[in-house]
């Protein structure tokens, strides 16, 4: 990235963008990088509710409403698992997300591999269906699945939720893997076969290791999408409660501070993954 390009840090002429640099007549003076301040301001906005959640996981509220700051306590961390139902919801969420990651990971990887490497009948149709599955509103996906389960007389619950989550995650994994497959050199696989490797050995020892970063990224994406999903899950989960569903259910009676603790722990997992990602990126360089 060359630094000598004179580009404005913000889109000029857009209302509400406070990032426009002032026009300076003296060129010698260093321009203030308003874009940096602006970006950090937006980031602060993105983190505002998280900061609230983390702070209030340490709050010691008097009543049931955890809105005003009353004092510092570690009480909620000590009995983070005091609510049996919350634990069950959390367990459901994590296990559904893991199953989704695994199943959509396998299906999506095979699909992405086929789309990236081969031409076959129905490829355009597959792309169309994947596009539709990604851009269809969640409320439509949930409603459509529930319609089918109703008409087929299937009781909704844990496994219908897994099925639904895998359905909307497959395309995301496939797209991630396809992007990687396109950049791979097919000669590496040919070389492996010249060296006497069978198709399966080639796949296991050559193709899969090269695809692994994309498979991992797609799988993590599926995990994140699944554990976060509320809308589709309400439609297809029946009596089974997941973490977002349980939070939703408690909003009317006052949310226990343990929810903020769980949210903070989830956020920490995200922070750790992000740090690992940065460290790995540094090492690759």
């Amino acid at each position: 990235m060359s630094t000598d390009v004179r580009t404005p840090p913000a889109a000029p002429g857009e209302p509400g963008a406070p990032a426009q640099p002032p026009r300076r007549t003296v060129r010698a003076r260093r321009r203030i990088d308003w874009g940096r301040y602006y970006t950090w301001a937006v980031l602060a906005w993105l983190f505002l509710p998280i900061a609230f959640m983390v702070a209030f996981s340490f709050n010691d509220p008097a009543g049931r409403h955890n809105i005003t700051w009353q004092g510092f306590t570690l009480r909620w961390y000590e009995n983070a698992f005091a609510y049996q139902e919350l634990n069950e919801a959390m367990f459901n969420s994590v296990s559904i997300a893991l199953l989704t990651m695994l199943m959509s990971g396998v299906l999506g990887t095979l699909l992405g591999l086929a789309l990236g490497r081969f031409t076959f009948r129905g490829k355009q149709l597959t792309n169309l269906v994947m596009f539709a599955a990604i851009s269809a509103p969640e409320v439509v996906l949930g409603a459509a699945l529930l319609s089918t389960f109703l008409m087929m007389g299937i009781t909704t619950g844990y496994w219908t939720t897994v099925v639904a989550h895998v359905m909307f995650c497959v395309s995301f994994v496939a797209i991630t893997v396809r992007a990687r497959v396109i950049t791979l050199d097919p000669q590496l696989e040919e070389a492996a076969q010249d060296l006497g490797a069978g198709p399966w050995t080639t796949f296991r020892l050559v193709t899969l290791p090269m695809l692994f970063p994309a498979v991992m990224a797609g799988g993590l994406l599926a995990f994140a999408l699944s554990i976060d999903d509320y809308i589709i899950t309400t439609f297809v989960s029946g009596d089974v409660t997941t973490f977002p569903l349980w939070i939703w259910g408690t909003t009317r009676v006052g949310i226990p501070p343990q929810v903020n603790v769980m949210g903070t722990l989830l956020f920490l997992v995200g922070v750790i993954l992000a740090v690992v990602n940065i460290v790995m990126a540094r090492r690759r360089r």
Partner: protein, 283 residues
């Protein structure tokens, strides 16, 4: 394995899954929207379109409100997100991916939980309004919660990354020398932006609009948490009709009306923009 069979063997499991749990359900919902009856007496396939007439005449207000909220949130996302994507793409330097991770990090915390946090932040005695009120900076009776701006703000907040990422992706791939060339041809900063950078970034903006307008206008979580009872969206109606009233024929016809309107909106926007191949934005 034969090279001709291999691709089919690879796609078959995913095909089966998507056909069974995506294509068939959409068809099933279509047939359900053309039935009459209720849960007690059962639903009869009548192929009558009366449900659609009922759906539109009863819920046109929520439908229009949803499209309006979605459009407002989408515009807000462009206004907030474009300068940020721009700055990261051109000035982010070695920290580009770190900034992107920072944008995505809040999304590890549950969507519902973040939205509820906003409810507390925006409440009358909350962290934001409370101090302002006690300082007398706000008029008596000023409230943010349970208002349309609160819903739009929540929607823009929740879907902002879906706007930033595609715009960033096209700007990042752009050759900086194109901007230099514009300057060499005596284009000012504004002109270089309007004539060179903006046209290049339009596909990204389009992808962003696609990924924010569809989910925001069909969302109901923000409307329920931040909008109170007077700002319900069409998603609220679908959810209530499906899960509480068990009125499946009406519910599925409203769902199709919503989907149809979104498709019309997206395709007319694509035409206006000259982007004929809508699907390519995902590639």
């Amino acid at each position: 394995m034969n090279r001709k069979i291999t691709p089919y063997a690879l796609v078959l499991p995913a095909w089966a899954w998507l056909a069974l749990f995506f294509v068939v359900p959409i068809g099933g919902m279509l047939s359900l929207s053309l039935t009459t009856g209720n849960v007690v007496t059962g639903f009869q396939q009548t192929f009558a379109v009366g449900n659609y007439v009922d759906a539109v005449s009863t819920y046109w207000e929520q439908i229009l409100r949803s499209l309006f909220y979605g459009a407002c949130a989408t515009v807000l996302c462009i206004v907030i997100g474009y300068p940020m994507a721009y700055w990261i793409a051109f000035k982010g330097g070695p920290y580009k991916s770190t900034y992107l991770l920072l944008i995505l990090l809040p999304f590890f915390v549950s969507f519902v939980l973040r939205t509820i946090s906003w409810r507390f932040l925006l409440s009358d005695s909350g962290v934001v309004l409370g101090p302002l009120k006690s300082m007398g900076l706000l008029p008596e009776g000023f409230a943010l919660l349970n208002s349309a701006p609160a819903v739009i703000l929540g929607l823009a907040y929740n879907f902002l990354p879906f706007m930033i990422l595609p715009i960033y992706a096209v700007l990042e791939r752009m050759d900086p020398r194109m901007v230099e060339a514009a300057h060499d041809l005596y284009a000012g900063r504004a002109q270089a932006f309007v004539r060179v950078i903006l046209p290049v970034s339009l596909p990204g903006v389009f992808a962003g609009v696609l990924m924010t307008f569809i989910p925001t206008s069909s969302d109901y979580v923000n409307a329920s948490v931040l909008g109170g009872t007077h700002n319900t969206m069409i998603g609220n109606v679908i959810q209530t009709q499906y899960l509480i009233n068990n009125n499946y024929p009406i519910a599925s016809s409203i769902t199709f009306v919503l989907m149809g309107l979104l498709l019309i909106g997206i395709f007319s926007y694509a035409r206006a923009l000259g982007t004929e191949r809508v699907m390519e934005v995902h590639a």
